[in-house]
Symmetry: none
Subunit: 234 residues, 2 copies
């Protein structure tokens, strides 16, 4: 998934690497529509680029994804998000894919990488082990290296006995219920709604919930909320 890539050559290069390594579904979230259109119409663009989906924003792009991994050049771990080296992150993605879930790999813009808001939809971050003194990679090259690591070694990843991960949609539903509860209870400070929303979103992603557990939570929170509403009315 490419977010706000600005250079058509980079979009094309990312698509080419996908084709080289046998990946097929490219989604592009782009405020620079022209870049995408130009890349798509380039001579020799791989089939998958012509079939790439344009999404309005990151939430739309990840709706059916159970595991969303953001890429970053940063050395420092963001407090809110686990940061893995590519080798370890790829292992997690393989495990998740093996259980039949959809995974998304997010790449940010050439200049700024992923925004804080983009990152808030990720379950974890991953970085390519570049030198500290020159950590920022070219977008097309970063995509190629990540995808190579995903198919590297060929050896079928051990299929662990794991419950299917919650999808973006299931998490969004739980998030809504929790936010309503927090608002009703006065936990959310007036004026801090957006900040709370982002904090909650990150919190839920760190939990790596299964579909079933997400639904259980949603049910519990809905019930609490209902009670709070009823009480307020009497």
């Amino acid at each position: 998934m490419l977010v706000d890539a600005r250079n058509p050559l980079n979009i094309g290069a990312a698509a080419r690497a996908m084709s080289n390594f046998g990946f097929r579904r490219l989604r592009v979230v782009n405020h620079y529509r022209l870049a995408f259109r130009e890349a798509r119409s380039a001579v020799g663009a791989p089939e998958l680029l012509r079939e790439a989906e344009e999404c309005r924003d990151v939430p739309e792009a990840i709706t059916d994804c159970s595991f969303v991994v953001g890429t970053t050049a940063a050395e420092a771990r963001r407090i809110e998000h686990p940061l893995h080296r590519l080798e370890a992150g790829a292992e997690m993605i393989r495990t998740c894919t093996a259980s039949g879930s959809h995974c998304a790999l997010l790449f940010g813009s050439e200049k700024r990488g992923l925004s804080n808001s983009d990152i808030s939809f990720c379950h974890c971050l991953m970085r390519i082990p570049t030198r500290e003194e020159h950590s920022s990679m070219n977008l097309g090259q970063a995509v190629a290296v990540c995808l190579y690591e995903l198919i590297r070694g060929d050896a079928p990843a051990a299929i662990e006995d794991t419950a299917p991960h919650a999808t973006g949609e299931e998490l969004a539903r739980m998030e809504q219920e929790l936010l309503k509860c927090l608002l009703l209870s006065g936990y959310t400070k007036p004026g801090a709604e957006a900040a709370t929303e982002e904090r909650v979103r990150k919190l839920l992603r760190r939990m790596q919930l299964s579909s079933e557990d997400a639904r259980t939570w949603t049910g519990m929170l809905a019930k609490m909320q209902l009670r709070q509403r009823k009480d307020s009315r009497t």
Copy 2:
């Protein structure tokens, strides 16, 4: 070592990947001198590109190298040369470098790859495990992937997630708050208190919360509960 790369952007990209992964000595054998000159004078060209050596031909470029590996997109093994997958080839290069010898990695031109003559100077060939149907990679991306494989796993996997896990005590506190909320809201059916308690305990353990996240949840739940109580009293 780049042989006859034609596109200055690709030469620049190769140099950038070298800088990213900590390689320093680039040698360029080029009949298209202009491409190299242009790449070298580009804004933001890494130091190592300005220091790259221009060589007349492959023999000159590999004089001091003990192990020369050519890269190829070809699936078929050339009769005269052993062909290794990248993973295995990189292992051989690492072994050789560890013994203090110089190794060279040769990349051919964008269009035709290495010539038969170039290959005749190689000890073996190496290929990136791309799909058979689309095996030819962009030069800059191929360089990035090969160099990544060479440094892969090198440095200690130091940046793994290190947020301390919630202790039993912290989880017990969160559990208590959640159970109170569930009871007040009527989620817990009368008579099913023990069963709910067990379900909730398992649910919280599956989440693998950090200390900090457990405390956040405890705070949110306490606030919701307080609200419910207050409402019930009025």
